[in-house]
Every structure is written in C-alpha cells, then in structure tokens.
Amino acid sequence: MGKAFDPTLIVDFIPTLIYYLGVTLQILAASVLLGMVIGIAAAILRLFRIPVLCQFVILYISFIRGTPILIQLFLVFYGLPAILLFINIDISRMDALYFVIITYGLSNGAHFAEIFRGAIKAVDYGQTEAAYSVGMNNSQSFFRIVLPQAIRIAFPNIANSIIGSLKDTSLAFTIGVMDMMGRGETLIAATAHALEVYLSLAVIYYAVVLLFEKIFRLYENRINRHQSADVSATG
C-alpha cells in the first residue's frame, strides 16, 4: 500500500468495476441454468431410485457438499483437461471462464437436486391421488399438480442458493477469470489502493444482492398469491 486511505477513490473505482459485473452475472446465469438441468436430472434419478445412477448421484452430492468450492474449482481446472486428454481432446487452452461455469454448475446442481427432491417429497401424496381420481395420468398429475406446488416450496431455497452462488463467484479470479474481483486485482496492482478497491467491490456486491433479494421476494409473493392467508403466513 504505502499511500494514505482515500475515500473518494471508492466512488471513482465503482464505474470501472461495475463494467465487469456483466461477466459475474454471465457466470451466475450460465451456472444456474446448468445447475437446474443437473439438479432436476439428479433429483429424478434419486426419487425413482434408478440403480447404479442413483448411487452415483448420492456420491456426487456428498462430494460437492463435502468439499470447499475453491477445491472444486481447482479440481475442475486441473482435472477436466487431464480426463479429456484420455479421449484425445485438448482443452488446456480453453478460457478459464468455462471452467468456472462448469464448477459452479456442478456445485449448484448438487444443491438444487437436494432442494427439488425435498420439495417434491413435501407435496402431500393425496394431491397425486386426487389428480388420478379426476382421470389424469402419471405425467399429467406430476407436471400439472405436483410440480407447480413443489416449485412454490422450493423457491425460497433456490433463491438462497442463487444468492450464495453469486457471492461464490468472487472466487473465480483465483484461476484467472477477469470478473469484478479479477479486475479489482489488476486495479490494485496499478494503483496500490487495495482497501478502496475492496470497499467498492463490497458496495457493488451488496447492492446486487439486495436487488436480487427484492426481486425474489416479489416473485415469491406472486407464486404464493393463490395460497390462503394462514398458509402463506407460515410458509
């Protein structure tokens, strides 16, 4: 550092850093989408107890929940090229951004799988029976009756996971991704004002998280609009 703390720099740095918010949101959007696909597939494999694949999913979820995201990031970054080299695909020059998206997608997938599974199981079986009684078949009762209710139950947890994932993206710079944090590091190298850079970053992250929370709360109210008052007050 060496130089004195200069609060005006916090404001000066924000425009430079916010320019890279796009990269952060891009990582988030891609990894959430990937996570949704993996999560739904994994939840279905577990709910219907598909042999072999089901055990594989349990192992996958346990591993993701049992190791730090930083370790997962390094494992994908160094491991994926090594695995793909066995089938003669060289991805060692691939942009680090894709490794980050794959890691966060895998991590989100494991968390989403557990959330979906819990939510689907939380829907009373009487609902399925009621659907059958009016002549729906398996897939109709699942997609029209069970799933919409499960999504309502899962939503607050999904929202929490997405916000957690947004904060986790701040570690992507460790494998050299130029997101907000990565740009912050170069800004520190150029100006030696580390504290001001991190304060600007904190302001941006905080603002984005607050915005996300607001949007999620509005959406949650929307999907709960048909619930009677006493249920939505507790749920």
């Binding site: 591993f63 049992g66 730090p68 090594a82 904060k167």
Partner: protein, 236 residues
C-alpha cells in the same frame, strides 16, 4: 499428463499437517460468532433501541457480501486503522507485527456472527410462547425463563443448522489461503506448485475435506439424538 496415484498419498500426508490451522480457523470464529450471534439475535428479538438498527445493518451487510470481501477489508483496513490510532496516541504498536491469522480470525468471526444470529433468531422464535408463560407461572423472571427454558430448546432445535454452519465454515476457511495462510488449501497449493502435480494435490485436499465433513455430519446426528431425546412431538 498422467495422474500419479502414489503422489496423492504423499500430498495427503503433507496437507494433513495443516489440519490444525484449518480447525483453528473453523472453530475459533464459530465460538466467537456464537457469542456475537446470540447477542445480536437477542437485540433484534427484543428490538433494543438504537442497537437494533446497527444489528440489522451488520447482519444484512455480512450476509450480503462475499466472505472474501470481509477477509480483504479487514486484512487491508485494520492495519491502517491500528497504525493511525497508534500514531495518534503514541502507543508504539505496529500493524505489521500483528500476525495475519488474527485478521483472518476477526473477519471469519464477524461473518460467523451474522450467520449464527439468524439461526438463533429462528430457533428462539420457533420455541412456543407458552413455554415462556409456563416459566413465568412457576415464578421465574425473564432472564431465568430465557436461559433455563427457551434457549436450551432453541439451541437443541438449531443443531442441524449449526452443523451446516460448521461445515460451511470448514469450507470457508479455505479462502484464507488467498491471504497466504498455510491452512489445508494453502498447503495443497504449496505441495502442488513445488512438485508441479496440481491435480493430485487438490484430490488429496478434497478427500480430507470430504472426510471431515462426513465425520461432522455423523457427530451432529449423534448429538441431535441426545439433545432431542426428551422432545416428543404429537406424532411420536
């Protein structure tokens, strides 16, 4: 590039030497966070004037920013603050004589406090008000009712959340390697770069974290069984 299976074991032994620092970085912040979290939760539940606003802001900020921010802000901010104060009052304390681990511990404690306060709050709220009334009816005062009746139940109910937080902070401690703390991820990084065997080192580190997580989950299950032994719901 081939994977050197034997090196995973070598790295495993090397990295597990950093296990104590990882555990220190996990447990001390959680202990400090326990006290901060309980205080903050009580302030927010009883809506203590003035303090309540600060508590709300603290919890919201720490839950709204990535933990690496907390580490970096304190790592770069505190030395500046300490030097300024020291200069003003002629204390003769130099910030660079303070070990880095103290800054990391402070940062992690503050974030643990914010997360734990939410757990305490939901735990305390979930204990039915009738319990408080029952305690009053046998002549306890508010403080006795809180510490003898409500808190033990709230804490027993929060055990699954405590396990999640413990595992979360076990994993979070890996971020400390960015400010060159030689905890497990830091050790893995050193082993990786001195031997140029990155994948093997991180596999070893991953296995240790995974093992610790599974042990923590098992222990939590046993504690939960013990703590809730006398709780009978309507369906049991």
């Amino acid at each position: 590039m081939t994977i050197d299976i034997l090196f995973i074991w070598t790295a495993f032994k090397e990295i597990s030497r950093a296990l104590p620092i990882t555990l220190i970085l996990t447990i001390l912040p959680l202990l400090a966070g326990f006290i901060i979290g309980l205080a903050v939760a009580l302030i927010r539940i009883y809506k203590v004037k003035f303090l309540c606003g600060i508590a709300n802001g603290y919890v919201s900020f720490f839950r709204g920013t990535p933990i690496i921010m907390h580490i970096m802000l304190i790592y770069f901010g505190f030395p500046l603050l300490i030097d300024q104060i020291s200069k003003k009052f002629d204390l003769g304390i130099q910030s660079n004589s303070i070990p880095i681990i103290l800054f990391v511990l402070t940062a992690l404690s503050l974030s643990a406090g914010a997360y734990l306060s939410e757990i305490f709050r939901s735990g305390i709220i979930s204990v039915s008000n009738g319990q408080m009334e029952a305690a009053y009816s046998v002549g306890m005062n508010s403080f006795q009712a809180m510490t003898r009746i409500v808190l033990p139940q709230a804490i027993a109910q929060s055990i699954p959340n405590f396990t999640n937080i413990f595992i979360g902070f076990l994993h979070t401690s890996s971020i400390a390697f960015i400010v060159s703390q030689k905890e497990m991820t830091g050790a893995a990084n050193i082993v990786a770069s001195t031997n140029l065997k990155f994948l093997e080192s991180f596999i070893a580190a991953g296995l240790i974290y995974w093992g610790l997580t599974i042990i923590a989950e098992g222990l939590s299950f046993l504690i939960e069984k013990k703590a809730t032994a006398y709780n009978r719901g309507g369906v049991q």
